[in-house]
Symmetry: C2
Subunit: 280 residues, 2 copies
């Protein structure tokens, strides 16, 4: 087996779990600390990642780079790597639309860099169940980096864009329906019939109302990331002439609660509802 | 107990089941055949409803009129009843926004007609579980018409608009999430990754993909009605400054498959997907 030097941009909660699966599979994991937070350093240190300090050094040192970042930052990370003359294989594992991934693939090809499309379904890969979907001609070389880790990999096809398309369609329901539920709870509160709605939900499915509250409170930690992802999904729907309104609505819902991520203690359901009800 | 003469405009699949519950509770049920179809006559006859022929005669003969029709027709039915000088209690049990119900209430009040707001949750009331929610000062007099039938009634409050608000919020999820799923299946097909998406759904919840197909096929019979209902929900969301995009998207989805209601045999999932993928 080849032992690869794999760079992760950047070791957030998800990225560090991918790095851990690569290390468990016999590879070396790198990160670049320039401009990153203390929290990122703590995570990277905890899982034995090596700091190259600059992205330039990371590009010179690694044969594979995996990008794991919020969707709005994906192009900037890719362009930095291209700018530093990286010569290995680049994986964009972010929640971006398939056409954006294809455009990214064209830019990498123009710089003679191998590109693989990725999409992650599931939370940070500490328990089985999280899958890194891959597409593109060189998917196999990436899948082989994680064979002994917790992270599963699945190759969809040889076409760049397919892994991103799957990620978009999957999150369209999981995160789209969560945003819809959040909006409905806020509407019902404003119209003064939330108790009646939740009582009817309880009749249909005991526990549903309480679970919905818990899920809405939990999502406040991630809403800042989800807002951009919903826009990517809206753009994906539009690209095949299906309505983009579901996810533009979902993006607005997540934007309204985005700043709740910094609360030290969980907000109450009333507090989330009050944020949801105020236009940004 | 008072024995009421109750008019139903009109005895569609839902309306006739309400009439049956009124008859089971000792009341007499009327309908007006002018302009209605043979199918409506068959249903009305089957459940012992009396035909007054004209809406004018129905208004003269009944102390209560219950409107059960698609949302776009609700105002026309109400205005006809007002125009004929009806002097009893009118219930709008349709899927309309709370502000539209309030406006309707004002028009009835101006004509000295008692008005009750209604909203039905569930399918035609042949088995327990379907609830006619009621709001407004005179709700009790309507609830008492159905005490011995299959239809349940629940009084929410004395405020006109509350029953409609509940109906809107409930359908916002049940029918809104169904439209979202339908759109996602169409997007995934167009992007060529439907198999992978459905395989991932199966991992999350065995049976989900097959159930989704069945639900999408079943909804084609009702999509023609749902399109208008989704617009009412969009307008309800907008009235309290929550995003209307979810349900404008849902309305478009249902419009695209609206004409599948007339197919004699169920369409295949591929056929539904191909309709969903074509702009109207």
């Amino acid at each position: 087996m080849d032992h690869h030097s794999i760079g992760f941009l950047h070791p957030g909660a998800m990225g560090v779990s991918l790095a851990a699966s690569a290390v468990a599979s016999g590879h070396k994991a790198y990160w670049a600390s320039e401009g990153r937070s203390d929290a990122t350093r703590t995570r990277a240190d905890m899982y034995g990642m090596t700091d190259t300090e600059s992205i330039e050094a990371l590009c010179a040192n690694c044969s594979i780079i995996v990008s794991v970042c919020p969707p709005h930052a994906a192009d900037q990370v890719a362009d930095e790597v291209i700018g530093h003359g990286f010569e290995g294989t680049y994986v964009d594992a972010n929640a971006i639309s398939p056409h954006r991934s294809k455009e990214m693939g064209i830019r990498f090809a123009q710089s003679q860099i191998t590109y693989v499309d990725g999409g992650i379904i599931g939370g940070p890969a500490w328990q089985p169940g999280t899958v890194l979907y891959l597409s593109g001609e060189y998917s196999e070389s990436i899948a082989s980096c994680f064979v002994d880790g917790v992270l599963e990999t699945k190759i969809i096809s040889k076409s760049i864009g397919d892994a991103s398309a799957l990620k978009m369609c999957y999150a369209a329901y999981s995160k789209g329906s969560m945003a819809l539920l959040s909006a409905i709870v806020a509407v019902s509160e404003q119209l003064g019939i939330r108790d009646s709605l939740e009582a009817q939900w309880e009749l249909d499915e005991p526990g549903f109302s309480q679970q919905t509250h818990e899920r809405i409170i939990r999502v406040t930690k991630k809403a800042w990331r989800y807002a951009g992802e919903m826009e990517e999904i809206a753009s994906t729907f539009e690209s095949v002439d299906l309505p983009n309104g579901f996810h533009l609505g979902a993006s607005e819902v997540y934007q309204r609660i985005a700043d709740l991520k910094d609360m030290e203690i969980d907000p109450s359901i009333s507090e989330v509802i009050s944020r949801l009800s105020a236009e940004c």
